[in-house]
Symmetry: C2
Subunit: 336 residues, 2 copies
C-alpha cells in the first residue's frame, strides 16, 4: 500500500495519534494552517531545522523506517541540547516518492514518535507531499531556554578546558559496517551500528551544563570533533589544542580498528555524527561541574584539551609534540 491509496489526509489521520506527547500549553496541533502553543514564560524560543535527503544522508535500502525516523528527529534534538535548551515541538515535512510504501512511512513515524515520547516532545505539524525521485525529510524543532543559561559557540576563552560528554568515532565505525554490508554479529559491532543509527540526543546533559553557569561555549559533534571544535574556535576567535591520548575512545572502536587496521584517533577526530556535546569550561569552576556531571549521569566528563590564543587547531601527542590539526569533518559542498 502506498500514500496514493489513502491520500494525504488519510495519511495524516493515521499518523496523528501518538504525536501529542505533552498536551499542556499546546493550543493547536496538526490540522490547522499553523500550530499554536504557549511559549515558556521568560524563556527564549530556540529553533533548529535540518533537511535530510535520500542518497546524501541515508540509503533507504540500508535503514529501516523506524531507525530513519529516530535519527532524523535525534539530530535536531541534539541541536537544542547544544544550546542548553529544553526541546518542545517538532514539525515534520516529508516528500515521498511513489515507490515508498505506506508501511515504511508508518514505521518512520513510529521511530520519531518513540523518541519524541521519551523526551517529551510533541509532533505538532508538518507537510506531506510527493517527490519525483528521492525521499526528503525536513524536521524543525523548537525549544526554549532561559536567556542567561543559553550555550553558544562563541564564548570560549584561552585557558578553558575542552570537554566532551561521551565517546567519539563509534558512529563513523557503524557507518563503515553499513556501507560495506557487514552484518554486526559481535556485541562490539552491534554497539557501533547502534551508535550510528540510533544516536541519543544529550538533552539532559545540555540542561545540566546550561544550569552550571560555567560553560563558556558548546556545540554538538555532528560534522566531526575537529570540524566542530573549529566552529567553536572560529566563532570565539581563539585557538584550541587537543591532547591525543585524552580523547575518549570506546573499547568497541578499538576492537573495530584492530580488526580492520584503522586508526581509532582518526575516526574520533574526523568521524562525525557522534552527537555527544563538545564544550568549554572555565578552569575555576571545572571541578564542581565535573563532580556534578558524574554524579548525575554516572559517566565522567572527558577533558580533551585547552582553548589557546593561537587562532589555530593543534593536537599534542602523548610525548608532548604539537602538530597542526585540520578541521576535516563533513562539508556537503567541499571545494574540489
Amino acid at each position: 500500500m502506498t500514500l496514493a491509496d489513502i491520500g494525504e489526509f488519510g495519511f495524516i489521520d493515521r499518523i496523528r495519534q501518538g504525536c501529542l506527547i505533552r498536551p499542556q500549553s499546546v493550543i493547536r496541533a496538526i490540522g490547522d494552517d499553523a500550530a499554536a502553543y504557549e511559549p515558556a514564560v521568560g524563556e527564549l524560543v530556540l529553533v533548529t531545522t535540518d533537511l535530510l535527503v535520500e542518497r546524501v544522508h541515508f540509503l533507504k535500502a540500508a535503514t529501516s523506517g523506524f531507525n530513519l525516523g529516530h535519527k532524523a528527529l535525534a539530530v535536531n534534538l541534539s541541536d537544542i541540547a547544544a544550546m542548553g535548551g529544553t526541546a518542545r515541538q517538532a514539525f515534520v515535512g516529508i516528500a515521498v516518492p511513489e515507490s515508498c510504501s505506506l508501511a515504511y512511512l508508518e514505521d518512520f513515524y513510529r521511530g520519531m514518535q518513540s523518541l519524541a515520547g521519551e523526551y517529551g516532545v510533541n509532533i505538532l505539524g508538518g507537510d506531506t507531499t510527493a517527490s519525483k525521485s528521492d525521499l526528503a525529510i525536513s524536521i524543525t524543532v523548537t525549544g526554549s531556554v532561559p536567556a542567561a543559561q543559553m550555550l553558544c559557540r562563541d564564548g570560549a576563552r584561552p585557558g578553558d578546558h575542552i570537554c566532551v560528554s561521551g565517546f567519539l568515532g563509534d558512529s563513523r565505525a557503524g557507518l563503515h559496517l553499513i556501507l560495506n554490508h557487514i552484518t554486526p554479529e559481535t556485541p562490539a559491532f552491534r554497539n557501533l551500528f547502534q551508535a550510528h543509527v540510533l544516536p541519543r540526543p544529550c538533552l539532559a546533559e545540555g540542561r545540566f551544563l546550561a544550569c552550571s553557569g560555567a560553560v563558556s561555549a558548546a556545540i554538538d559533534v555532528s560534522d566531526g570533533l575537529s570540524a566542530d571544535l573549529w566552529q567553536i574556535a572560529r566563532s570565539s576567535r581563539v585557538g584550541a589544542c587537543l591532547h591525543a591520548d585524552r580523547i575518549p575512545l570506546s573499547k568497541d572502536l578499538h576492537r573495530f580498528c584492530n580488526h580492520f587496521g584503522y586508526d581509532a584517533l582518526e575516526y574520533a577526530l574526523a568521524g562525525g555524527e557522534d552527537y555527544t556535546l563538545l564544550f568549554t569550561v572555565e578552569p575555576t569552576h571545572f571541578q564542581a561541574v565535573e563532580q556534578g556531571f558524574s554524579e548525575q549521569f554516572g559517566n565522567p566528563l572527558h577533558v580533551i584539551g585547552q582553548i589557546t590564543d593561537s587562532g589555530k587547531l593543534e593536537i599534542e601527542s602523548a610525548g608532548g609534540r604539537r602538530t597542526p590539526l585540520t578541521p576535516s569533518g563533513w562539508n556537503h559542498f567541499k571545494p574540489g
Copy 2:
C-alpha cells in the same frame, strides 16, 4: 559557479547579509546550533512548515530563482496570515543538486529577502545540503498571535457569512500560461502570470480580521476554494452553500477564459494557490467588519455564501438552483 566551488560555509557567508530585517528580540541568528529569539510577550507562538520539491511544486526551467524564493516564503507567510498572526522568523532548508548554479541560488535568496524585508520577517537559520536529483526547499515560519485573537478553521456556525478577501482563479490561469509556454504579452495575461508566481500573503488583512473579533473561522486559499471551504466545513462540522454569481472573478480571468474557452467559475472553485483569505463572519458583526475592511484596504470584502447545517458543500446558481459541490482541489496523493 556552483556551491561546490565555494563550499557550504562560503555560501552561508554570502547569503547571510540581508537576512536580519528586524534585529529587535533576536538573540542568535544564523551561525549557531539553533536560532534564539524572545517570543512576543503574552502571545502564542505560531509555526508552519512547507516542503517544495522540483517537478512537483515548480519547474526550475520555468521559474527564476527570485520568483521561486518569493513564492516559497509567501505560501508560508500566508499560513500565518490565515491564523491572524504576525509573521516573525523564517528558517530555510535547501537541498541542491550539482547542476544548480550559484547565481540561481543567490537569486532565490534575493527573492526571499525582498519579501521578508517587506513584511518585517527575519531569515534566522536553515540548512544547506546536497541533493542527488531534484532541488528541494523546506521553509518554516514562526509567528505570534494573542490567544484571544487567533483564527482557526473550526469555529464556523450555521448562518455565518462566507467571505473572501480577493479574486479567485487568477493563479490557476497564470499556471496554465506557464505550463503551455504562452508568453504573457497582454496586461491581462501578465497580471494572471503575476498572480501565480508572485502571490501576496494577506498578513495585514489577517491581522485586521483577527482584531475584529467577529471572524469565526479562517483559512488561506491554497488548495482551491472548494477544497479549502471543505476544510472549514469539515473542521467546524457544518455545511456551506456558495452563491455562484457572487464569487469574485477578475476581468483578467474573464478575458483569459473567453480567449481559451474555459469556465471562469471552475477556475475559481478548483484553482488553488490564490492565497486570498477565506473566512466566516457572524452576521450581527458583518457590517462593521465590511466597512472597516474596505476603509483600511480600499477593497471590498466579498460575501460568497453562507454556512449551513447540512454537513455538505453546495452551490447555488443565479437562478436559485442548489447543487452539490465537490471539494476538488489539490491532493498530492489523490486516491486513483
